[in-house]
Symmetry: C2
């Protein structure tokens, strides 16, 4: 399994991904699920992926090949809008799945995969998309300022409570990391290290990118503070009085 | 969808169920998912159910018919152990599904259903079981002192943090209600009223049973206190310092 989340704020976009992959519970590995395409001053594109790892890797490799070929066909480094970026990912994902799915289906292997992609291209606002397994996609709007893929449920309540368009980058960063903490506590198939990238609106460059592993001091203290804060909040709830 | 949870504590068992059912998003109704079989001083059996409503209702009706027939065949009111109760529910569920599934499958309707069943029969300890859709079942042990069925993920993190065998009935009650609150915030298909039953170990009778609806004062204040407590806990988390 996987957990990735991205929040779209007025101040920028916070991206985060775990890095555990598993093919069965006895085949667990670490793969980075965040990929960055950057031309400082011109474009920042961040992809997060979930689902069949061979499919997501093949999709990204296919997109990279088109960039390297540089024959004028539209690619992630020459297109003019994030909408086109989402479209290119969707098309590549469809091609890969169309090609591979029949072989996977024969062995009951799921070929589904999905992407979160966001960032900014000069001349456009920052934008955030979720590309479904079928290759179609949706864009985050003010009403729904975040996307999640993978094991999304455990970490959703805190996002629902905290994130809105006006949330600061610092608060969104904390919130996303707490969301990962809740998910990792309840689902073994989501695991550290966590890759975090905070894109500041209109900066058109990556300045805040960080990996948090098991031994990371901030992550450990965040887990502990949150755990204590929850315990305290819980202990302060009034008890139900059966005699009332 | 549905959400039901039960926690097995040294002090007793806390049962709770929501009451929303939906066949598609435009066909939402209220059905009680908790059923109690009680002979004061002799047995208390509580069932919670999730899944296809026609299947769970038919299963419980079948079990009731055997009780009413009273022809000496084993039933929920004459059997001597909770293990046998879980077995009887599993057998009834298998029969109903075997009978109905072919008709449901024709229209791609899911016939799966599951039960949590717990309580105590004189001469035995209190016990708690989860009966799977296939009719097999497991029993709660000290290491895993709670079961959930239905929409289980949103409400799991708080149970994981709070519930262990030594948790008091009052704390478990609060925790289960908070777990329902988190679930209802993130999934529209789980809804009030919530049925709550707190069985006190060795009491062999039901003394604490209560329904909480939308307008319930305690539930409203619990939601508000929890929301404020979370916000406070969140605001007290240290911010990540990118310059460190």
């Amino acid at each position: 399994m996987t957990y990735c989340a991205a929040t779209m704020l007025n101040a920028g976009i916070v991206f985060a991904s775990d890095s555990r992959t598993n093919a069965g519970i006895d085949n667990v590995s670490t793969f980075k699920k965040m990929k960055v395409y950057e031309v400082p001053g011109e474009r920042v594109i961040v992809t997060l992926c979930s689902g069949n790892l061979a499919v997501t890797q093949a999709t990204l490799n296919h997109l990279d090949q088109v960039i390297r070929r540089n024959d004028g066909s539209p690619n992630l480094m020459n297109c003019n809008s994030m909408f086109e970026v989402a479209h290119l990912i969707g098309v590549a994902l469809r091609e890969i799945r169309q090609h591979d799915a029949p072989y996977l289906t024969q062995n009951n292997v799921d070929s589904s995969a999905s992407f979160i992609v966001g960032g900014q291209i000069a001349g456009e606002q920052q934008r955030l998309f979720m590309v479904y397994s079928e290759g179609n996609f949706i864009e985050a709007m003010t009403d729904t300022p975040y996307f999640q893929i993978g094991e999304v449920k455990y970490g959703k309540p805190i996002l629902d409570r905290v994130i809105n368009a006006d949330t600061s980058m610092d608060d969104a960063t904390k919130c996303v990391l707490v969301s990962f903490d809740s998910t990792m506590r309840s689902n073994l198939s989501v695991g550290m290290p966590i890759d975090l990238l905070c894109y500041e609106r209109d900066s058109l460059r990556v300045t805040k990118k960080r990996r948090f592993d098991e031994r990371d001091d901030y992550m450990r203290s965040l887990r502990q503070q949150w755990s204590e804060g929850l315990r305290k909040a819980f202990s302060q709830l009034s008890t139900f009085d059966w005699h009332e």
